[in-house]
Amino acid sequence: MFSLIWHSIIRRKVLSLSTIATVALSTGILFALYLLNIGVSAGLETGKSRLGTDLLVVPSGSDVNPEDALFTGAPLNVYMARDIESEIKAIPGVQHVSSQFFTQTLSEDCCSLSDATRLIGFDSDTDQVLRAWLKGGIKNTLDPNEILIGSDIQGYSGSEAFILDNKFVVAGVLEPTGTGLDYSILMPVESARRLARANPYLKMLYWDKIGNPEDLISATLVKTDASYPKERIAEVISGLGGVKVIKPSDVLQNVKGQMDVLFMIILGVGLLTAASSGFLLFARFYALVWERKGEWGLYRALGATRRDLKLLVTGEALLLTLAGTLAGVAAGGVLYRSALELLQKQKAFPFIGPSLVPALTGAVMLIVLFSLVGLLSAWFPASRSGRIEPSKAMAIGDID
């Protein structure tokens, strides 16, 4: 039986290939969407639990995009006076503050990264955020020559890295956060300041103009008391002047809203394509049954049961949809990478790449779903084929 099905597919190469391509297109779109969706969802969820700060305070004069600040590892050389930290700490409702000093690597300077990367100097005495993201076995206080790296930066504990001509040892790798930390390098704040001060390029750009790195910070992470409204505290901090207050939870919510709309549109396109695949399969198999009456009649005369004919039609549908979904899953993987790259160029958003199990689960679900669509589309035409009488074989010549 398989041989007969196979020959039927082969002898209509163009039709078969176009059917496979249509199914592959629908599957590819839906699979890529699925991967993107679980990546963004995981990023949003993890980001929500791991941003760890209620408010992020950055200099107001700089052109700081909240999404870039939170979700990318691109250099963010913004600075404000270090004194602001104590002013914020004094505001009622502020439970805890910890400041960071940002600088950057130069292109191709470190860790096999071709682009400049954000270096975050943090105060391990006051920091309460990073500790939550550290994988086990990392000591709380880093030595001056030790760094932590984000989960998306190549490296492992104990490996060495040269940053701005200084040798560092990787003391640990952060858990994925779905945020810009995944692409950042973290080190003791004094080490970051030392590197920044010693770099002539950064000196010319920043320190000669805005002051000594020792007197500057880039961002302050603020933890608020739950009994105080965050919005009110943010207003008071903004009132200090010279600063901009970012509420990470609002940024996440905003990104989620935008992504939801985008995914709904893509999902709509994917479902329409899937529906059109179903119609195409139905049309193909309806025409196939109609055009091949002589052949079905011959099979019936030679001993095929009605069930055999249904099996021939549905078997062909199943094989074509299987081939289409497998090709679609492969194409979806490629589409996912391209779409992710394109989206990340357009907008920064939290993202944690899907692991193998959910990706495989999605692929299997799509294969099962489209196989069902294929079977359902061919079911009615297959039933029609079963009605063909064996006597049809008597009056026809060769069957093309």
């Binding site: 041989s3 005369a301 001993g303 060769d398």
Partner: protein
């Protein structure tokens, strides 16, 4: 082995044949003759369980198979009947060998390839195994159709005008091959208007006005 008792076939107001009775045993051959349009092919279809009679019964090995379920009839055709249709009825995209193997595929029988090659050899078609039907002459196509009919060694061979369109030499060779089958224990029923071919059969019936007119 195969017996028809008082079978009739009616299409609308037209009676194709009426209360025809005939029978054939293993090792016998039966030729059905008659003018064009006399209902020979329809009678063959009813005998081969391709068509339902409006009246009467068909018995195979003593069992009334007229009332059998459609699936059972299909299996019966597949296992015990071999058909040679009026036209070769080959599937254009399948090679000669694949065409011959169709009944075996439907019967889910593997390992029939060797047997198919032997049959093709017997019919002088051993050099055409991989050819497609459009690469064959009409005579070669007919031989492929005959090979397909006899592949599974059916008890009954039903042939509809098997020598149509063949030149006299080839027609004689095909006739010779077919009439060898009863000698091996098969029953052969053939429809033909070629009287010289019909005369080789152990029984001849002539359909005239829907009735068996002459019996030999």
């Amino acid at each position: 082995m195969l017996e028809a008792v008082n079978i009739s076939k009616i299409y609308g107001l037209e009676t194709v044949f009426h209360e025809v009775s005939l029978s054939i045993q293993a090792g016998e051959s039966l030729a059905i003759t008659g003018l064009s349009g006399s209902g020979k092919s329809t009678l063959l279809s009813v005998l081969g369980l391709l068509l339902e009679p409006n009246q009467g019964k068909v018995f195979f090995q003593g069992q009334n198979v007229s009332d059998w379920h459609d699936n059972e009839k299909s299996r019966l055709r597949n296992n015990f009947f071999g058909f040679i249709f009026q036209y070769p009825q080959l599937i254009g995209s399948l090679s000669v060998l694949e065409n011959i193997l169709v009944p075996a595929r439907l019967a889910r029988r593997a390992n029939c390839k060797k047997k198919a090659e032997e049959v093709l050899h017997d019919l002088g078609m051993q050099n055409r195994i991989t050819h497609l039907p459009h690469q064959l002459s009409i005579g070669q196509k007919r031989r492929v159709a005959i090979a397909r009919a006899v592949l599974l060694e059916p008890l009954v061979i039903l042939a509809d005008e098997p020598t149509n369109d063949l030149d006299p030499d080839l027609a004689a060779r095909v006739g010779e091959f077919l009439f060898e089958l009863p000698k091996k224990g098969n029953a052969l029923i053939l429809v033909t208007h070629d009287l010289s071919l019909a005369q080789k059969a152990s029984k001849v019936v002539r359909l005239v006005n829907g009735k068996v007119g002459v019996s030999q």
